[in-house]
Symmetry: C2
Amino acid sequence: MNARLDRPLPAGLDGLLVTPGPDLVYFTGLRPPVTERLTMLVLPARVLVVPALEHPGELPGLEVVPWRDGEDPYAVVAALLEPGGRYAISDSAWAMHVIALQEAAPRTRWTSMTGSLPMLRAVKDAAEVELLAAAGAAADATYEQILSVRFAGRTEVQVAADLARLLREHGHEQVDFTIVAAGPNGADPHHDIGDRVIREGDMVVLDFGGLKDGYGSDTTRTVHVGAPTPYEQRVFDVVRAAQQAAFEAVRPGVAGQEIDRVARDIIEDAGFGEFFIHRTGHGIGLTTHEPPYLVRGEEQPLVPGMCFSIEPGIYLPGRFGVRIEDIVTVTGTGGRRLNTTDHALAVVS
Amino acid sequence: MNARLDRPLPAGLDGLLVTPGPDLVYFTGLRPPVTERLTMLVLPARVLVVPALEHPGELPGLEVVPWRDGEDPYAVVAALLEPGGRYAISDSAWAMHVIALQEAAPRTRWTSMTGSLPMLRAVKDAAEVELLAAAGAAADATYEQILSVRFAGRTEVQVAADLARLLREHGHEQVDFTIVAAGPNGADPHHDIGDRVIREGDMVVLDFGGLKDGYGSDTTRTVHVGAPTPYEQRVFDVVRAAQQAAFEAVRPGVAGQEIDRVARDIIEDAGFGEFFIHRTGHGIGLTTHEPPYLVRGEEQPLVPGMCFSIEPGIYLPGRFGVRIEDIVTVTGTGGRRLNTTDHALAVVS
């Protein structure tokens, strides 16, 4: 971990204020609870301010400073900051902590971690890529098994419970989402689950993932209950082609927005441009949503070790939706899929 | 819900900025995901800014303003704020959103919801108290059943898994914590769980809870594997007496810190003052940790409908810990326990 603590800061930044969540895991491996009691790693001071109740013990290379209920942890942090300094704080740090620190250190300037260091955790090392691959393999095993459960006559909630159970059986310690969006519900990319009974003839979007050994999985396949109509198959094939082309465009040096453009061009050329209503992908690692984002405006070039989703979709209001999503990592020469289940439209019963 | 939207603001506050979490549930009933995409209720403007992907549909009394990936939601919120105005933002709003809003509306002043409106959600209505009572009853049923599982020879992790399973079986949709702290581990109030094998002669602290129908449970009982020693029983009896006395001190008009003092006096008088290392309790409702806090310095008087834990403990480093915790609600004349399982030291096998 010490190499990470020694990382030089970009020009114009005087320090990092790291709170519980993926940034703190990245720097220290610690996973304390996220609460109203301040836990904060201050860099480059290498001081970890923690509630006495959650003292992690000695940590190599860090000074641990505990505080008790009734004491003021913000004064402790403020004393470590330079007047007029500019500090990046973890994106998900709580507002109550940010505001208290701004009051305790009124002359400091503030930026978010993603605003100033968007690629802090974006490039994974080989061990991290293998953890993501293992999480992907567990999600793939879940998909293979979900194909043999009953869909017709059961609710989205019931199939989602099957997905959650399978993810846990395949080693996930945390299930973050189990989207089962049948028929017209599939036209809402973020439809979660409901009491809709799945019917013969439904297109069903399955998007599920979570954390296995601390690293994320996130895969989507769209299945059909019984045989699809030619129109459904045509829409599906457009999404499949878009996903494939975007994958093939991955290589070091290409901008994130270019991957988005490749997928979007295919969907637009097929006449469905207005129905692809989200970005093409997002990074994944210690969280299931993080930089880099594959979105118009993202000019940051891809670098070997970056890991992200490629998930184009078409959403036809009142009818159905299709999305296909794999996690992909950038290699020295191209991309490697961390989800490898078949892309063909699976027919379920 | 509209009565809540109409609540007058305290003097010196120009509005509330409410993000996903308990505050947003309180005002709207909505439970959108907490992500890097801004969702924010602006009061008194009654505008809900949401990602287009998560459009909740029409909401009575609110104007819903969706934004798409690539658009700037902070400018939308900033346009609703008064220059120089003072705004309270949800405690757990993400730092990235706070900082972006401060940049988009540079002349505004900021405070946290708890800093300016600590008792916003502290007084529960009758329906909320009954939801908390139902969550408490589910936790109590879990405790009754855990007494008959095997402790000796199994790990803390295994017993914790039993607790989580039982909480879900009794209707919890979310399990927030399942502390099983055996022997010396019990001396760490926030010890979670580990691979320690529980042994004959261990004191074991069980502290568990989560959400049932959106409202929190949180109860602690300390059990013993086999017969306790006289010294263990004595320490236990001190904690039990402190918890009982603190409960009996609950009535409208008494300050939160007074409940803490009553419990602390008993533990100090018994010679264990230095080993009671945390506050006596915390509020509970849409979260398992919220105001009011029963802690020295809390001068806010108790009001009927407030709900909080009473959980004194004694923690003997290297030896064992004892804690007893019930959720209590303030009635017109005193307190009502929402956990009603026996306080006696249960012997497990």
